[in-house]
Symmetry: C2
Subunit: 304 residues, 2 copies
């Protein structure tokens, strides 16, 4: 089970009925927030998933609409009495930006550990089977797309376990952990498990022009959350100038990536009814959904 | 005419139906915003008074709930295409705090001029007849109450004008401006005007314990906007510990100050129904009003 919620669907500025784009997902007791514009704590409060359990915050880039809510969010997490460290991921300079923003939140009851993406550091293990990966985008300032993958191990394979002479006593333990030492012999889980099964992947992409490697980065995403600044194809030129993408461009990425489902978000404040462009976009990628604030979905592993 | 709106009524954190405490007032084309927590731009958008015309922002103190919305607000003002300079007023260190917060809003189409309060600098002339004054509070960090006063000149006095030999030709000009040079003689408005009449004053006080000089600072306020963290008198100890005040304490200040009207605000997120304590508070100060987000009032000069 992998719960995901789109906290807001707005770009540039929060509107009374449209919070700024952000995503939260949780699985196995681990919660990741991606982006945190002004008001994200309000929409999260409405959603009711809580603050204390937020383990990590990943930031796509340092435009205000993606990070301006961070001081308030850190305070809300602090007020929830979290004391466990918080992980933060983001572009180079993240620690410096957060340090400056914390001029108004100098004291917190938890530590923050920073990971700044670089050529060498492009992924992080959130849990042994939960992985966060980033991909540089094209937005006129360093900006990253994210994928969050919940891996799924292979099925228990009795024949394989027997063939590897794994004592039955440790079968159950090996199914849950990678390595067991028993009678001074090291046994590993691959001795009892079949090939890894299909996991679950959520992709998140905002803000950017379409890039050549986005579709492969988002390949087979169970859910792709992608920006669409404008639905109107006539606004393409304006969209290009602002280094964003249109609904149609996002739909093309979802199609090429062979995604299961596309949620559009990060709408221009000037676009009052994103639904107006729904049908046209579905011609490119039928399973396109126009994002709404606090829409949620629970992804589940496919049936065996 | 002096328009005032209470943009929010919450303390500590913005809630889905209660924005953080802030006040906006406007007169004679001049608009002043006091405090700017997370979400202030959203509630201001709901109110519909616009962003471009904000001439000044005064901050009471640097707790996040009073300033965390500043980066987004500056961006919103910038997006409204304001190019005229913005005035900012606040505690010592204001320019440094704003500079740090602007790490995510480095480019703006207008300049910001800072005034940091000190023993020597305790007031500012927003317009020739519009004055902002501050008073240090008691909140565990430097924090200031504000009064905004719209002065009202005396009535035109024909007898006085004649007695001072002011040429009739410049009577009208002298009524509008302080000084007129005519035939190489300097004439001043006090030659044609009677004693200044009663103006209009709005007081704003949050966050603080009651202090000895608050009532005199707020003397005869037409409207006093004052914090009341809790309505329940049993919460006094908790309120004192947090360096705030209760409804009753605010009402006592309004009474001693001989204010016309009191709006309570900055409610604890834990207090769901501030109205529950309304009647009790009115026993101390009858014209107490429990603040609501975006409540407005137009103050007018008294009839002659």
């Amino acid at each position: 089970m992998f719960d995901v919620a789109l906290l807001g669907t707005g770009g540039m500025m929060p509107l009374p009925n449209r919070f700024l784009t952000a995503m939260i997902c949780r699985t196995k007791g681990y919660t990741l927030l991606v982006d945190c514009g002004e008001g994200t704590q309000i929409t999260l409060k409405k959603l009711g998933w809580g603050f204390k359990n937020i383990d990590a915050i990943a930031i796509t880039h340092f435009h205000a609409d993606h990070i301006s809510g961070l001081p308030g969010m850190l305070l809300a997490i602090g007020n929830s009495e979290r004391t466990e460290p918080l992980q933060m991921f983001g572009p180079p300079g993240l620690a410096n930006v957060v340090e400056k923003l914390r001029v108004i939140v100098p004291e917190l009851p938890f530590d923050i550990f920073f990971t700044e993406w670089s050529k060498e550091v492009t992924s992080a293990e959130l849990l042994p089977d939960l992985q966060l990966k980033c991909l540089p985008l094209n937005h006129g300032m360093p900006c990253f797309a994210y994928s969050v993958t919940l891996h799924r191990q292979g099925r228990f394979d009795v024949e394989r376990a027997k063939a590897a002479n794994v004592p039955m006593k440790i079968w159950s333990a090996l199914q849950k952990q990678e390595k067991v030492v028993y009678n001074e012999i090291i046994y590993t889980s691959n001795m009892v498990l079949g090939e890894p099964r299909k996991g679950l992947m959520i992709g998140y992409c905002t803000d950017s022009r379409p890039t050549a490697d986005l579709p492969s980065f988002m390949q087979n995403a169970d859910l792709l959350i992608c920006e669409g600044l404008y639905g109107d194809p006539d606004k393409l030129e304006k969209t290009i100038a602002r280094k964003h993408m249109t609904f149609n461009e996002a739909a093309k990425i979802a199609k090429t990536a062979n995604a299961q489902e596309l949620w559009l978000t990060h709408f221009s404040p000037a676009m009052h009814n994103p639904q107006d462009y729904h049908k046209e976009t579905q011609k490119i990628f039928p399973n396109t959904i126009i994002g709404k604030d606090r829409m949620t979905k629970t992804l589940t592993f496919e049936e065996d």
